[in-house]
């Protein structure tokens, strides 16, 4: 609760959350990408790709994210208490997945066993999923709890993972067919992300949401579509059809797709994270006369 300048409406209208800053956002940004990358690395390993570097990168991303969170929480030396609520808390579950990610990842790197590689990928995917569920469970932030938010957050994690694989493909997958497969997978995931994004935004508007959330998300809509998805998609197509400069196209496409995913997640976790605010279904009767109409200040759409 920062004592920011108070305006008349701030006391009852939704306001931007102040408790999770860039550090928390970084966990969703880096952790999601890392988890997605691990999943796709595991996938790629099925075709014999050497994914060790990818595993390291994926784990590093998750590690960075968790470190950022560790710096954000109020009582870092009690951090292990996070494991106490496996029954319902997705934050516990996210934290619980992490040792498995790192454990299997280290074993995979150490032994080269594909089982561990696959397990690392599965745990990475679980990590992405758990993160998406953390946001979905936060009922206080309507933009997060919306049912179409969770698939989108998961999808962007995997899209970013696939995109990072695309970036790595020219270096770790020598075969053109493999590169085309990666480009295709990334393309499909970008398409999925776009569909889920549009779907999410449309539903948010039609179901109603805090004006601040709608404003923040709408503000990135056009550029997110054009530069964050369409542009990398075109570049990936270049990769898919195997045109000259396919490799640079893949690298560039991947980087742009990851960056746009991060941009979206930062927006979601910070700028669009408006609280529920307050709503009154019946303004009270004051002595005599009718009750007042329902009010829900600061909400738009619907």
């Amino acid at each position: 609760m920062k004592a920011a300048k108070i305006r008349s409406g701030d006391r009852f209208s939704p306001h931007q959350q102040h408790n999770w800053d860039w550090r928390a956002a970084s966990n969703f940004i880096a952790g999601g990408t890392g988890g997605g990358l691990l999943a796709f690395a595991a996938f790629a390993s099925l075709w014999g790709t050497d994914v060790r570097a990818l595993l390291v990168a994926g784990m590093a991303l998750i590690g960075i994210g968790l470190t950022c969170v560790w710096f954000e929480i109020g009582k870092p030396w009690r951090a292990l208490n996070v494991y106490r609520h496996l029954a319902t808390s997705w934050m516990t579950r996210e934290a619980a997945v992490a040792p498995f990610v790192f454990g299997s990842g280290v074993l995979a790197l150490a032994t080269g066993q594909s089982l561990f590689v696959l397990l690392t990928g599965i745990f990475g995917a679980c990590f992405v999923y758990a993160q998406a569920r953390i946001l979905a469970a936060d009922k206080g932030i309507p933009a997060w709890r919306h049912p179409r938010c969770m698939p989108l957050v998961a999808a962007t994690g995997f899209a970013e993972g696939a995109s990072l694989l695309a970036v790595a493909a020219p270096f770790v997958i020598p075969q053109v067919a493999g590169q085309i497969a990666v480009a295709t997978a990334a393309l499909v995931l970008l398409l999925l992300r776009v569909l889920l994004w549009r779907n999410y935004l449309r539903s948010l508007r039609s179901d109603g949401a805090p004006e601040g959330s709608l404003r923040a998300l709408s503000a990135i809509d056009g550029q997110f579509l054009k530069y964050g998805n369409l542009l990398p998609a075109i570049l990936l197509l270049v990769g898919v059809i195997g045109a000259p400069l396919a490799s640079p196209a893949l690298i560039l496409a991947g980087l742009i797709a990851v960056a746009s995913g991060w941009w979206f997640k930062y927006t979601l976790v910070r700028r669009a994270a408006y609280t529920q605010g307050f709503a009154i279904p019946h303004l009270p009767v004051r002595g005599r006369g009718p009750a007042g109409p329902a009010v829900k200040p600061g909400w738009g759409g619907a």
Partner: protein, 918 residues
């Protein structure tokens, strides 16, 4: 739960809060290991206190008030002889001995010179804050003041302009109502005109109105902005500022011209009002030639008879032919009428009000005629004329309708008309001082203060006795005895203990600078010594930048200080008292008191040290005793205490004697122990005597009182008296007499005020006076297109708590506490957004604050809560809050006949850069 240590001791100390006039209220102080930690309600008082033992939000700041690190904790003396806002006073700590020596030396030299100076004005002046409440914290100082002799209370700190001044004066005149309230527990319909009772009425009013809302009463709030009270009302009527008289005249028009006498309370008008009195062609009562008594038309005998003729049946309405009557004008000028047409006062009223239709009022008030008509008719309908109620075995009329007035409606030009109209609206339906209706609460100009019914005595013309300042040639006070000239200029304010503080207090300040050119009285002087306590006129009066310069001229100012503030910045001596939670005092509670304190008990309550006095602060009773001793007034001081000047009861009366030895110095506990014993003995008529120790444990002592004491009309009925309504013959006459006196002394500077003395008020362009004043001051009225109003805040209202951090924090939750309330559409047209820094400028200066955009305010009106713009008070000086007081002029033109002004000013507004806003 929040204490990290295991407390060794936890105590709950019963005491009271009386920081605003809506008190006192009961509370407990929770004390953990000797440290006050919490304020709580005192539920032991749940059954006797109208607010069930609860205190308002302000009281919760008292813990911080006690431990505020900015407190003055030892006596300080000024070292910089230069005084001014830019001059650092250079206060240095001194011992109590030195401080008391300084002040008593000064006082002794004053006594040696004489208590009044060559101008006939007291050499010692004192200014205390809001509504007599400082008296509830000053221990036995009143006994010292009584022992001293003449003291000038002329220098106001907002009195007359921040209170409901005209209500005080006319309320007591018409129905012994120093403040006036609805009988909320029974009311069904209340027209609340600018009265912000939910913010300033204290827990008792809030409790009563909340109960009434749940019961289903309807309150219509008539006010330019949607105040807290408007918010809690069934209907909001956003009236144009200062046009309330027109609105009320139209209500009266609907009742008397459209509905007619048959629908009104004819019996009440006939028997309890002067409606039947016959008015002659000169506008004065037709009187019996022999006795001089006003005549009325006796329907039984078919002739005019003196008002008190046994068995007469007075005609309320009509024109009658009267033979051989006289009239008595100012200065006893008598006129004989062989034959005259006598018109009843009621019929005079009806004819007078014919022009004031709702359609006429609509254009003035910006309120639709249909709304005005509907409200008038709803009022009449809800009056349920004929209904009765039994209270404590007595059958009384039940008239559950009331009209209440608020600050700025109730003072300054237009206030006389509003008070008259309010009292008349109650009279017409028999709701004046009857259950459910419009009630006075207490008396201060009349006596005794704790039972207004006993103040009713038969006076002239069948009305209650009044104690006006004389206006006849022989007795008029041509040489003022105080600097606000109350006895000379304001007959109705009288001359009892409270009268002076209710005089035209801004005149005291204005005349220090300049007197009118035809001023033919001794010139006002500065007092040799000025005492101030719980007051900060440099913030709480008007034109505060100029006022500060006046304050700086006072030669010797002694401040009983809590923190350094804008007024005691100019003081010579700061004497820090042990404050709310640290000192000992007993006061009376119960009965009927200000605002909405209507009890069914009366008694006394103790304020006691819940914690040790901080630093070297001292109990006020100790300070007072020391002052008395060092000025040689100990005996007179003790005698004053014995008479009951310290509060509670006289220390000696029939059946008990706890009087103090007048020749000796007595300790603080000894003094209050005597008051405790005397008060309990007095209240219980000797059945119970409780000492200080008992009170420290139990907190209060009360005895039951009948609710019938809330209502004045039964007392008038018992004494066969009438309310002086609707016709103001007496006021007309004394106004003329006052004019004669002033003109005899070749003074015409009060002539405009004399126009207020009218038998039946006429509408005059009240808001136009403000634009005219700008033009007369050389400004262009069109440059100041908006109204600026000030409104009260429960969190700050008279709490002296601007430096309490808790209050600042919680007040911010209430709209307006962050700046200036402005209509959102108006703001948009001026390019102002929510939170923008704005300048609000009048023709005398500017004040700065943040814009608070709202829909619940008229487009032509800005509103500022409370009074801020501090520059010395710790904490508050960093608020960046604006104040109306900074830019409201003190002006003779804007002063009404009672000497009050209205808290309103014409302004312009513009957005400014943040750095400009200083």
């Amino acid at each position: 739960m929040s204490s990290t240590t295991n407390p060794q001791s936890v105590r709950k100390v019963p005491t009271y809060c009386y920081n605003c006039v809506a008190g006192p209220d009961f509370m407990n102080v929770k004390v953990v290991d000797g440290v006050a930690t919490e304020i709580e309600p005192n539920f032991a008082a749940e059954d006797i206190h109208p607010a069930r033992g609860r205190v308002c939000v302000k009281a919760y700041g008292l813990v911080q008030k006690t431990y505020n690190p900015h407190r003055v904790l030892q006596p300080m003396k000024r070292t910089n002889p230069k005084k001014g806002r830019k001059e650092d006073p250079g206060f240095v700590p001194i011992s109590w001995d030195e401080a008391l020596d300084l002040v008593s030396a000064k006082l002794t030299s004053v006594r040696a010179k004489g208590l009044v100076d060559d101008s006939g004005l007291p050499r010692v002046a004192a200014t205390f804050g809001h509504g007599g409440t400082p008296g509830m914290y000053m221990g036995s100082l009143p006994a010292f003041l009584a022992a001293w002799g003449p003291i000038d209370y002329s220098f106001g700190s907002g009195q007359g302009v921040k209170c409901v001044h005209s209500e005080h004066l006319y309320g007591e005149f018409w129905h012994r109502g120093f403040t006036v309230a609805a009988d909320t527990p029974l009311a069904r319909y209340v027209i609340s005109i600018g009265s912000n009772v939910e913010a300033s009425g204290g827990p008792c009013a809030v409790t009563r109105h909340a109960d009434a809302r749940v019961r289903g009463y309807k309150r219509v709030q008539v006010e330019p902005h949607l105040s807290v009270t408007g918010a809690c009302s069934a209907e909001w009527v956003p009236i144009r500022p200062k046009t309330d008289p027109a609105f009320m005249f139209a209500l009266i028009h609907v009742l008397v011209c459209e509905q007619g006498l048959d629908k009104l309370d004819v019996a009440f008008l006939r028997d309890r009002s002067s409606s039947p009195y016959l008015v002659g062609p000169d506008g004065l009562y037709l009187r019996d030639a022999e006795s001089g008594k006003p005549l009325l038309w006796d329907e039984r005998s078919g002739r005019a008879v003196p008002f008190d003729t046994e068995g007469a049946v007075p005609a309320v309405a009509g024109h009658f032919r009267v033979e051989g009557a006289i009239s008595i004008d100012a200065d006893d000028a008598r006129q004989q009428f062989d034959v005259a047409e006598g018109i009843t006062a009621y019929t005079k009223l009806v004819e007078h009000m014919a022009k004031y239709t709702p359609e006429w009022a609509e254009s003035i008030c910006d309120v639709p005629a249909a709304t005005i008509r509907r409200i008038a008719n709803e009022y009449l309908e809800n009056a349920s004329i004929g209904e009765t109620i039994e209270i404590d075995g007595q059958t009384l009329p039940l008239r559950p309708v009331a009209v209440t007035l608020g600050k700025s409606v109730n003072n300054g030009w237009g206030a006389f008309e509003c008070c008259w109209a309010r009292t008349l609206l109650a009279t017409l339906v028999g709701a004046l001082e009857n259950p459910g209706g419009t009630l006075g609460t207490t008396v201060r100009l009349n006596r005794p203060h704790d039972n207004r019914l006993l103040s009713v005595k038969a006076g002239e013309d069948g009305f209650m006795a009044q104690y006006f300042n004389p206006t006849d040639k022989e007795h008029w006070v041509a040489k003022p005895t105080g600097r606000n000239i109350h006895r000379t200029l304001v007959p109705i304010v009288g001359n009892t203990a409270w009268s002076q503080a209710l005089g035209p207090t801004q005149l005291a300040w204005m005349f220090q600078r300049e007197v009118p050119s035809d001023w033919n009285m001794p010139l006002p002087t500065l007092p040799d010594v000025w005492f101030i306590y719980r007051t900060n006129p440099a913030i709480s009066f008007w034109d505060t930048r100029t006022l500060v310069e006046e304050i700086a001229k006072f030669p010797f100012t002694v401040s009983f200080a809590y923190t350094l503030d804008e007024t005691n910045w100019m003081a010579d001596l700061l004497l820090p008292e042990a404050t709310d939670l640290e000192s000992l005092q007993m006061i009376k509670v119960g009965g009927t008191k200000f605002v909405e304190q209507f009890w069914e008990h009366r008694g006394v309550v103790l304020r006691q040290p819940a914690v040790e006095a901080q630093g070297d602060t001292r109990d006020f009773t100790w300070i007072s005793t020391q002052l008395a001793k060092r000025t040689g007034l100990l005996e007179a001081y003790n005698n004053a205490l014995n008479r009951g000047a310290g509060g509670g009861a006289p220390l000696k009366a029939d059946g008990y004697d706890y009087s103090l030895d007048a020749s000796k110095e007595h300790g603080v506990e000894e003094i209050w122990d005597a008051v405790c014993r005397a008060s309990s003995a007095s209240l219980s008529e000797g059945r119970e005597v409780h000492d200080l120790e008992w009170f420290k444990e139990h907190g209060f002592y009360t005895v039951p009182m009948s609710k019938t004491e809330w209502y004045l009309s039964p007392t008038l009925e018992k004494q066969g008296l009438r309310y002086e309504m609707p016709y103001q013959e007496r006021l007309l006459r004394i106004g003329r007499e006052l004019g004669n006196r002033l003109h005899e002394h070749k003074m015409h500077w009060w002539d405009e005020q004399l126009s207020e003395y009218a038998a039946l008020p006429e509408w005059h362009d009240v808001p136009g006076r403000w634009t005219q004043q700008i033009a007369n001051a050389g400004g262009k009225p069109e440059d100041f297109p908006l109204w600026l109003l000030a409104t009260k805040s429960m969190q700050y209202h008279t709490g002296g708590n601007a430096s309490i951090a808790l209050m600042r924090e919680v007040a911010q939750n209430v709209r307006g506490h962050t700046g200036v309330i402005i209509n959102a559409k108006t703001a948009k047209s001026l390019g102002i957004s929510d939170g923008d820094r704005i300048e609000v400028r009048s023709h005398i200066g500017a004040t700065y604050g943040d814009a608070v955009l709202a829909q619940g305010v008229r487009p032509d009106t800005l509103v500022i809560l409370g009074q801020f713009d501090h520059w010395a008070t710790p904490v508050a000086k960093d608020f960046g809050m604006p104040s109306l007081n900074t830019i409201a002029p003190m002006s003779m033109e804007l002063t009404d006949a009672t000497g009050s002004g209205s808290d309103i000013v014409r302004v312009a507004v513009r957005k400014v850069e943040r750095k400009e806003a200083v």
